[in-house]
């Protein structure tokens, strides 16, 4: 499907989505945290979109917002899409987990939790993946400071 056809189709499911193709090679959708899980599950299960391959899941600190970026591809139709979700709550950022839709998300979400402190509802095993349990702070946040381990330029 072309990006335009994708946009028209997806727009008919959920109303408050933002679409953008600027400054990116993919079609970008920004979704509110409440609608995230519903949108993702539709993107996977709908026959016309069938985004069955989550090839990248990244946490991003947009300052002041925290968010997650999902890169999706369909192995049958070979089209791609990017879904973004953001929250302004830096103290307790929470999104719904998508591990029930794509199993690869389990490890990726743990990585995001480890480095950004973003929590995921309904995640089966949400704990730090790389860092020790006693580690304080979330290193990939822009406001993280560590005078011992970081070389500051």
């Amino acid at each position: 499907m072309t990006n335009e056809a994708l946009q028209n189709l997806i727009n008919s499911w959920i109303t408050d989505l933002e679409f953008s193709e600027e400054e990116s090679q993919f079609l970008n959708i920004t979704v509110t945290p409440e609608h995230l899980h519903q949108l993702m599950s539709d993107l996977k299960s709908n026959k016309e979109t069938s985004f069955d391959y989550l090839f990248c899941l990244s946490g991003v600190d947009w300052q002041p917002e925290l968010g997650v970026v999902y890169h999706l591809e369909s192995t049958t139709h070979r089209h791609s899409i990017v879904v973004k979700v953001k929250t302004a709550d830096r103290e307790n950022p929470v999104f719904d987990s998508v591990c029930d839709i794509w199993k690869t998300a389990e490890f990726h979400e743990r990585e995001v939790y480890d480095f950004f402190g973003i929590k995921f509802n309904n995640h089966p095993n949400l704990k730090r993946l790389f860092l020790t349990d006693e580690w304080e702070g979330f290193p990939l946040r822009k406001d993280y400071e560590d005078e011992i381990n970081m070389v500051i330029k």
Binding site: F26, L54, C56, T75, V82, W102, K103, L129, K153
Partner: protein
């Protein structure tokens, strides 16, 4: 002396052991927490982070030229391809048109890297299941490729030969001849691999029907590279999203449908033949021209988001850059193949024996710095 556990969630017959972080079959500092009932595996939980260097955070402080040098410390057996991934992302963002010479040389070097990586994998795969000889065969052939790299790139493992805009310097005058010599040599040696290991009855019994991964699960777990293709999932980035000179060569995507350890093994052997075929198609026709195009000393990417995927020896490596127009990336994420491939280990190992876990893990071909980053 008290010999029973008083407080535990385990059932009485289950117990727990550590595999690694210094276990030879985990190929690096990977620690697996195994829950076992007799010799049957109930659960595998990887414990990561022993060599995490936070490359992604370091990238946010470095220039784009410096980032390239960090990438071959990830999957050090595919270092050339890792370098290429970052260079391609930067070049696409700057909309640089590269000379054909650069594209062809990069493709040849990538395929040599793939053969070298698979040679090493084949050697240690045999060793993991108890066949010591393979190690010496694999390293003998890999050594020839390392010599070629040393002559052209100046390094044997961490090449750093790619730079944004092309290659650091032109190929060595001996490069073409030595590569041809290697292909002629390896064509006589690769059949020996089959004679020595593939047809071995003990080896086949250790691998056939072990660690089965279905196609649906492969896609859901984000498997890529030979792990995905062993399950019949067509995921070759070189075919679906061609880069460099892959659109001008013909090769077959190695696919097997069984999904077991033996299928993943066969895919890698087949890939070595295909890699040789790709090199043969290109080696006599390296176009003349410049080996790089000029870039600014300080590279600033235009504001925006860039994603580039390449096929390393282990699978799909993705580079995701968010730029705000400065000389450093605002955020850089590496989607490494080993990370996703490791996440399916629990799925394929549960219900098998510890020996099967070692065999399955050998064909996932994990490189731990690639996972830990």
């Amino acid at each position: 002396m008290e010999t029973t556990l008083v407080k535990s969630n385990f059932k009485s017959e289950e117990y727990f052991i550590n595999m690694g972080p210094q276990h030879p079959a985990t190929h690096g500092v990977l620690r697996l927490l195994l829950t076992i009932d007799g010799e049957i595996i109930k659960k595998v939980e990887p414990d990561l982070g022993y060599i995490h260097r936070s490359i992604e955070k370091m990238c946010e402080r470095d220039s784009y030229q410096q980032i390239v040098h960090l990438t071959d410390r990830m999957d050090y057996l595919s270092s050339h391809i890792n370098n290429e991934a970052v260079c391609l992302t930067v070049e696409n963002a700057l909309q640089l048109e590269l000379p054909d010479r650069v594209k062809v040389i990069r493709t040849i070097l990538s395929e040599l890297t793939r053969i070298a990586s698979h040679c090493l994998w084949w050697g240690v795969m045999g060793m993991d299941v108890g066949a010591l000889t393979t190690y010496f065969y694999g390293f003998r052939d890999r050594e020839m490729i390392n010599d070629i790299f040393e002559e052209t790139c100046g390094a044997r493992l961490t090449m750093n030969y790619n730079i944004p805009g092309g290659l650091m310097f032109d190929i060595h005058p001996n490069f073409v001849q030595r590569t041809k010599d290697f292909i002629a040599h390896f064509k006589t040696k690769l059949p020996e691999y089959d004679t020595l290991l593939t047809g071995n009855v003990i080896f086949q019994k250790r691998t056939k029907g072990v660690g089965v991964l279905s196609k649906e699960d492969a896609i859901s777990f984000g498997a890529s590279g030979p792990v995905g293709r062993g399950s019949g999932y067509s995921c070759d980035v070189r075919k679906h999203h061609p880069y460099s000179a892959y659109d001008r060569v013909t090769f077959n995507e190695a696919l097997k449908t069984e999904g077991d350890t033996f299928a993943r093994y066969q895919v890698r052997i087949q890939e070595m033949w295909e890699a040789m075929s790709i090199i043969e198609q290109l080696i006599d026709n390296i176009p003349e021209g410049e080996h790089k195009v000029a870039t600014n000393a300080v590279i600033k990417l235009p504001k925006g988001e860039y994603y580039q995927k390449v096929e390393t020896a282990r699978g799909e490596l993705g580079v995701y850059i968010i730029s705000i127009g400065t000389k450093n990336p605002y955020r850089l994420k590496f989607r490494s193949p080993g990370f996703s491939n490791l996440s399916l280990l629990n799925h394929i190992a549960v219900g098998g024996k510890i020996g099967d876990l070692v065999a399955s893990m050998a064909t996932l071909d994990l490189v731990i710095p690639d996972i830990d980053r």
